[in-house]
Amino acid sequence: MENIADNFPFVASALLLAVAFYIVIFRKNLIKLIMGIAMMASGVNLFIVALGYRTGGNAPIYTDVPPGPMVLSVPQALTLTSIVINVAVLALMLTMVIHTYRNTGDIDSEKSRKLKG
């Protein structure tokens, strides 16, 4: 099944990563930076899930299984774990931005900066 359409998920994940890196490097608003990291996480997750897809494979659930090969569900498990971890990371980042706003009254990375040199 060599099909152009098979590669769409990989193209999408590459696009997501490219846009995410652009945001993380060039945007000064801290909330946008967090959105960039969320996009980066989505890009990587999409990449791993797309790797795990097998045409014609069955989900490894042993009741009522149709004939044919089953898929080893490691990539899906990895993605779930990674999503959970990223929720924790994003939540922690957002609380820090709230504290930054309270302390400095700004969420622009240039204006709220205290540490230099």
Binding site: L30, I37, L78, V89, M93, M96
Partner: protein
């Protein structure tokens, strides 16, 4: 005893995790503060014992594998399979070396924090996060598969960032913590992307199995590049070091040494990837040179940035970057000549010994220095060296510990920094004299910079504002004296330490086949 040794790897990671979630509950009860402190110390004491017996076992018997969900370690590859599908911990000489470093630093930090944190709000969460960070680092050191490397890297990052931003009422603290979590999140995602690339090709996650099947294709090289960038970013190597001064500066004292140790655990992960995962590569020389160049840049730029700092912890943070360069230089030389047996026996192995020995030495003396800096902050409320003066009159212990740390970092005998730096100078001289000269020059500048701060902070006339400054409380002195004792002990008996704990770590890194066989040995 046998049962304990067999299960030590999982207990060492599981106990602090349980403790992390039990501590907030214990703190709720009446007289909770005292109970929590006793509980934390008891758990950490138990873990120290477990690490000690595991270290003895690994040094005597060899690599110890712990397989999750199986009755025996050999069942990492279940019956009827040819690849390891179970999650494993694999503890070799290098892992247990990192385990010892982290555990001793954690013990000193915890004891130091007992008084340091007294009366502050949110203590329960503070100790919770300390144990979480400890569990993350130990897991990173012990893990035998790539995906758990990512998971533990994230656990350590989240806990570390939350600890760095612990003083949320200070804008600079939140900023330092935020930088750390952003850098950590990006580097962890790069690691995950690289894991995806590796999994796509080999359909396994275990480090030993990937190393066994490794083909060194172009995709593998891309994965190596991603892993290297991510881990150099996490260990604060120049040019990806910009977060380190901010984060180390603002973290509360008990935690700065822990975050420092977390950086070197990432360095351990880098060594694990370059030596074990990609060992036997045809052009290890190129990769070795890249490590050397990152090391020399870190050494030089770190120290140059440190000289003109007026914030005492910020100065020490830049020195931490600079000292990290020594470790990369030593191990990089070993990596560059690993395919050349004559050069490896002549100086490569000793260079790696020096680089790895420097990890433990540096973590100890830099942790001590950070603690003295924060002891000053604890008493006078500023980190600005221009506002300090004459503190040695009232803070004799702190001044003495500062001198020990400063002499150790500058490589003056009989302290531990001298032992590892001498090993690095001698061996690098045989590899490339120019690099050795740079290393010595950096050491001199380090001495100058620490002497300057010593005069500014501790000597001179007594300032009227600091007339009533007292010595820091006892638990902080005990925490610092544990590290000082290790520094002097390591400095007086360097040969003993190199032979007992450092050489097994070096051998573990060089012996890629041993690491693979410990898991894949059962494959027909």
């Amino acid at each position: 005893m046998d049962f304990l040794v067999t299960n030590a790897p999982i207990l060492i990671v599981a106990l602090p995790l349980v403790a992390a979630f039990a501590i907030p509950l214990i703190s709720l009860s009446r007289g909770g503060d005292r109970g929590r402190n006793v509980f934390s110390l008891a758990i950490l004491g138990l873990i120290v014992f477990l690490v000690a017996i595991l270290a003895r076992d690994v040094h005597a018997v060899g690599i110890r594998v712990y397989t999750f969900g199986a009755t025996a370690a050999e069942l990492a590859i279940p019956h009827g399979y040819t690849v390891p599908v179970r999650i494993i911990f694999e503890v070799d000489g290098m892992s247990i070396f990192m385990g010892l470093v982290i555990t001793i630093v954690a013990l000193a930090s915890l004891i130091y924090s007992l008084h340091f944190m007294k009366g502050q709000t949110g203590q329960a969460r503070f100790y919770s996060l300390m144990f979480l960070l400890y569990a993350g680092m130990m897991g990173l050191a012990f893990t035998g598969d790539m995906f758990n490397l990512f998971v533990f890297l994230e656990i350590a990052s989240i806990a570390g960032a939350a600890l760095a931003a612990y003083r949320t009422n200070r804008a600079d603290a939140v900023e330092g913590g935020f930088k750390y979590i952003v850098i950590s999140a990006i580097s962890a995602l790069l690691v995950l992307f690289a894991i995806g690339i590796l999994y796509a090709q080999y359909n396994v996650l275990s480090i030993a199995a990937i190393a066994h099947f490794m083909q060194h294709t172009t995709l593998d090289m891309i994965a190596l590049g991603l892993l290297a960038i991510a881990l150099v970013m996490k260990l604060a190597g120049v040019p990806l070091h910009m977060w380190a001064p901010d984060t180390y500066t603002v973290a509360p004292a008990g935690t700065t040494p822990m975050i420092l140790a977390a950086s070197y655990t990432s360095m351990y992960a880098l060594y694990r990837v370059t030596f074990t995962l990609y060992g036997g590569l045809i052009n290890t020389t190129t990769i070795g040179w890249i490590v050397i160049i990152v090391g020399v840049l870190s050494m030089f730029i770190g120290v140059m940035m440190a000289v003109h700092q007026t914030d005492i912890k910020r100065m020490m943070a830049y020195h931490a970057i600079s000292q990290g360069g020594y470790m990369l230089l030593g191990v990089g030389v070993g990596l560059a000549v690993i395919t050349n047996p004559a050069a490896l026996a002549n100086y490569g192995r000793d260079a790696m010994n020096g680089g790895i020995f420097h990890i433990i030495n540096h973590v100890f003396y830099k942790a001590l220095l950070f603690m003295t800096a924060e002891a000053i902050f604890f008493r006078i409320g500023t980190r600005d060296t221009n506002k300090m003066g004459g503190l040695a009159r009232n803070m004799k212990w702190t001044a003495a510990f500062y001198v020990i740390g400063a002499l150790a970092i500058s490589g003056i005998p009989p302290f531990n920094g001298f032992a590892s730096k001498l090993l690095i100078y001698e061996t690098v001289l045989k590899f490339s004299p120019v690099l050795s000269v740079i290393a010595m020059f950096v050491s001199l500048v380090t001495l100058a910079s620490f002497t300057k701060v010593f005069y500014a902070a501790f000597t001179g006339p007594e300032l009227p504002a600091y007339k009533k400054v007292k010595e820091v409380p006892k638990s902080m002195i005990i925490g610092m004296s544990i590290l000082a004792a290790f520094i002097i002990f390591f400095g007086i008996f360097p040969g003993l330490i190199v032979n007992t704990i450092v050489a097994p770590a070096t051998n573990a890194l060089i012996d890629q086949a041993g690491y693979i066989n410990a898991v894949m040995g059962a494959v027909p």
